[in-house]
């Protein structure tokens, strides 16, 4: 899925997978921070969005 | 007679686009259809091909059309704004067969107790510049379906003189109005209209509608529908198929209700909430489409719904051919 979305032009940073168990709270926080940083770097998403006319 | 020279066509379209949305046949990659000229005037006009794959019905019945927007907050909701597609429209280059389909759509949308306001708004202020058809294609059988291809009922009829310039023949007051708007580009020339080629395909459907009335349970329908795969291609490219679906598009506390094309070939077209489906199987849906084309519409409005343009014959992936279907239906014995 990740490679397919990249193929369609969605920046890879926008679609990330992580396997975090319920007890790994810290890892969850780190992954979230990482994702936010990455997506901020890429900027607001204009793709696959309905433009309201 | 007035003539629109080939090098002035673009200019004429730009003039008309001043006060109206002008729909012209254009080629998008290898799909041709009727698109708004002002959207991309640089694209070549598809006037040198017989007809467009996508029929011009999207001019009066867009594939997706917003009906009304609403807001729904908590317990109360109300309609905010109802779409009202006013504004002048001109269709340039439509042929006699598609025009006859437009008449069938008028019957469906504007008669029998209710008028469809959205359709009416688009249809009423539509000026029609029709193209007389001198060079029919192999799959055309429009004359057997009562289409006058050389003299269609339009505001202006244009005749292709062979060198991409068109004889311009206004027919109605609206046509005269268009002519006066374009008198800067039209030139006066005496002109010889080309010789009309004969139609290769003729088919006689007299009495077919009555015969079909007694053939609902006939086993021929199994055989005819066996090759169909129930996709929606034939209904979407057909100029006279008009079935639509009403859907809602909700974004939080606001949204809009829109309508979009639908096809009787889809299983969920008649699937009811409780699970009952009067046309559950492919044969029933296939039969319903052809009966609607050749019998039901005729019984209800007195006109056939098939106008012989041949698009479904050309574009069906599995080679279902309405001409073969008609021949088979005529040839089959009805015992009851």
């Amino acid at each position: 899925m990740k490679s397919f979305l990249k193929y369609l032009g969605i920046e890879p940073e926008r679609y990330q997978l992580a396997w975090i168990s319920g007890s790994e709270g810290q890892k969850f926080a780190d992954v979230m921070a990482h994702v936010v940083a990455e997506v901020k770097k890429v900027g607001p998403n204009r793709k696959l969005r309905e433009e309201h006319e | 007679m007035k003539v629109l020279p080939s090098d002035k066509i673009r200019e004429a379209l730009n003039i008309l686009s001043g006060e109206a949305e002008v729909y012209v046949p254009q080629m998008r990659d290898d799909v041709s259809g009727y698109f708004i000229w002002a959207d991309n005037p640089q694209v070549e006009l598809a006037l040198d091909i017989l007809n467009t794959y996508m029929s011009p019905k999207n001019v009066v019945l867009p594939q997706t059309e917003n009906m009304y927007s609403f807001s729904a907050v908590g317990q109360d909701a109300n309609v905010v704004e109802v779409a009202n597609p006013q504004g002048q429209r001109v269709i340039f280059g439509i042929k006699g067969c598609d025009l006859k389909a437009l008449e069938a759509l008028d019957l469906a949308f504007l008669t029998k107790g209710y008028e469809d306001e959205f359709y009416k708004a688009r249809r009423q202020n539509l000026a029609i510049i029709a193209r007389a058809c001198y060079t029919p294609g192999p799959a055309c059988f429009c004359e057997s379906m009562g289409v006058d291809r050389l003299n269609p009922e339009a505001d202006v009829v244009i005749h292709d003189l062979g060198n991409q310039s068109f004889a311009w023949e206004p027919k109605t007051p609206k046509g005269e109005e268009l002519t006066s708007k374009l008198q800067g580009v039209l030139v006066e020339q005496d002109v010889k209209l080309p010789q009309a080629a004969e139609l290769k395909r003729k088919i006689d459907i007299t009495g077919l509608s009555e015969k079909l009335a007694g053939m609902f349970e006939h086993p021929v329908w199994d055989e005819l529908s066996s090759r169909c795969m129930n996709c929606g291609t034939c209904t979407y490219v057909c100029p006279s198929c008009y079935c639509f679906d009403i859907q809602v598009n909700t974004r939080g506390e606001a949204g809009n209700r829109f309508r979009c094309w639908d096809s009787c070939m889809y299983r969920e077209y008649t699937l009811m909430a409780g699970g009952h489906n009067p046309r559950e199987y492919k044969k029933e849906r296939f039969r319903n489409r052809f009966l609607h084309k050749l019998q039901f519409f005729n019984e209800r409005y007195g006109v056939n719904l098939c106008i012989g343009c041949g698009r479904c014959v050309i574009l069906c992936p599995n080679g279902v051919n309405i001409l073969e279907v008609i021949d088979k239906l005529k040839e089959v014995q009805v015992d009851a």
Partner: protein, 284 residues
């Protein structure tokens, strides 16, 4: 094309027949575990007049629209009995009093109330099929003197599934010259009435076709068997009326899906008598 009786479906609030007018839900009555009756009205009373058997499109704007028979048109409100089967009906069953809904209509030809005057009436209903019949039954009670003897045969899967129990067991049997026969599919302890399917029960009661009009509505399979039983019992085609159910989207005979042959259920129907039905292809 059937005339619309005295109803004036042209002068409702909206000129565009596809755009709903807003109404508020005044009262919700729980008929059975999956059927509720909704009492709705606009600011100035009923949004439009409705004849028995006519339909209206009820819409919860963000969810969707659905066509329902108007179970009764009182002076100040409309009643819809709605069974929970799909996306919209599930949402409708979660709403409370005060909710705003969209309504448009009335659609369809409705029952031939004039033509049935002076006749004995036989109503045969199954499950939620009683909802459209109820509009005609209450109309007959309202103008009781215009109609002869009334028999109501009604069945459902179980006791809980019987709709309008209060009217069925208390009110309607008190109406002069009106008999009510109720059955359920399989026996239950707290039920000592008749047990069995409606078509079988109908043949058991065997009401004479003399001067009678039979009106039936229910699941398609029940209608088909009831029609056979009525024919066996000597009812001529003109004496048998049914109201049918199809998927409907526009309600004004345009979108093309509710057709039986060349007739549209939402416009030329939903009420047909057997002579008309027999002319149409058996596809409903």
């Amino acid at each position: 094309m059937h005339d619309h009786g005295e109803c004036n479906c042209k002068d409702h609030g909206q000129t565009n027949p596809l755009v709903p007018t807003m109404v508020k839900v005044l009262k919700i009555v729980e008929e059975t575990p999956d059927v509720k009756t909704f009492y709705v009205a606009g600011e100035n009373g009923i949004p439009f007049k409705v004849m028995p058997g006519q339909l209206a499109m009820v819409s919860q704007l963000p969810i969707g629209e659905g066509m329902f028979s108007v179970s009764w048109q009182a002076d100040d409100h409309l009643q819809f009995a709605i069974k929970r089967v799909g996306l919209l009906t599930e949402a409708l069953h979660d709403i409370e009093v005060g909710q705003t809904l969209g309504v448009r209509g009335p659609y369809g030809n409705g029952f031939p109330v004039e033509a049935c005057k002076g006749k004995d009436m036989l109503f045969i209903g199954g499950g939620i099929g009683l909802a459209p019949l109820r509009s005609f039954i209450k109309y007959c009670f309202k103008y009781r003197q215009d109609y002869g003897k009334i028999k109501i045969i009604y069945g459902a899967r179980s006791y809980d599934d019987l709709c309008f129990k209060q009217e069925l067991f208390e009110e309607w049997p008190q109406v002069p010259d009106c008999e009510v026969f109720v059955t359920i599919d399989n026996p239950e302890e707290k039920w000592n009435g008749h047990v069995g399917f409606v078509p079988a029960y109908l043949e058991e009661i065997n009401p004479s076709p003399q001067g009678t009009i039979a009106v039936t509505c229910g699941p398609p399979i029940m209608i088909k068997f009831v029609l056979q039983s009525l024919e066996k019992m000597g009812y001529s085609d003109e004496q048998v009326i049914t109201t049918l159910e199809m998927r409907m989207k526009c309600g004004i005979g345009k979108c093309g899906r509710c057709n039986i042959g060349s007739e549209f259920i939402c416009l030329d129907g939903p009420v047909f008598d057997l002579t008309q039905l027999k002319k149409l292809p058996p596809e409903w």
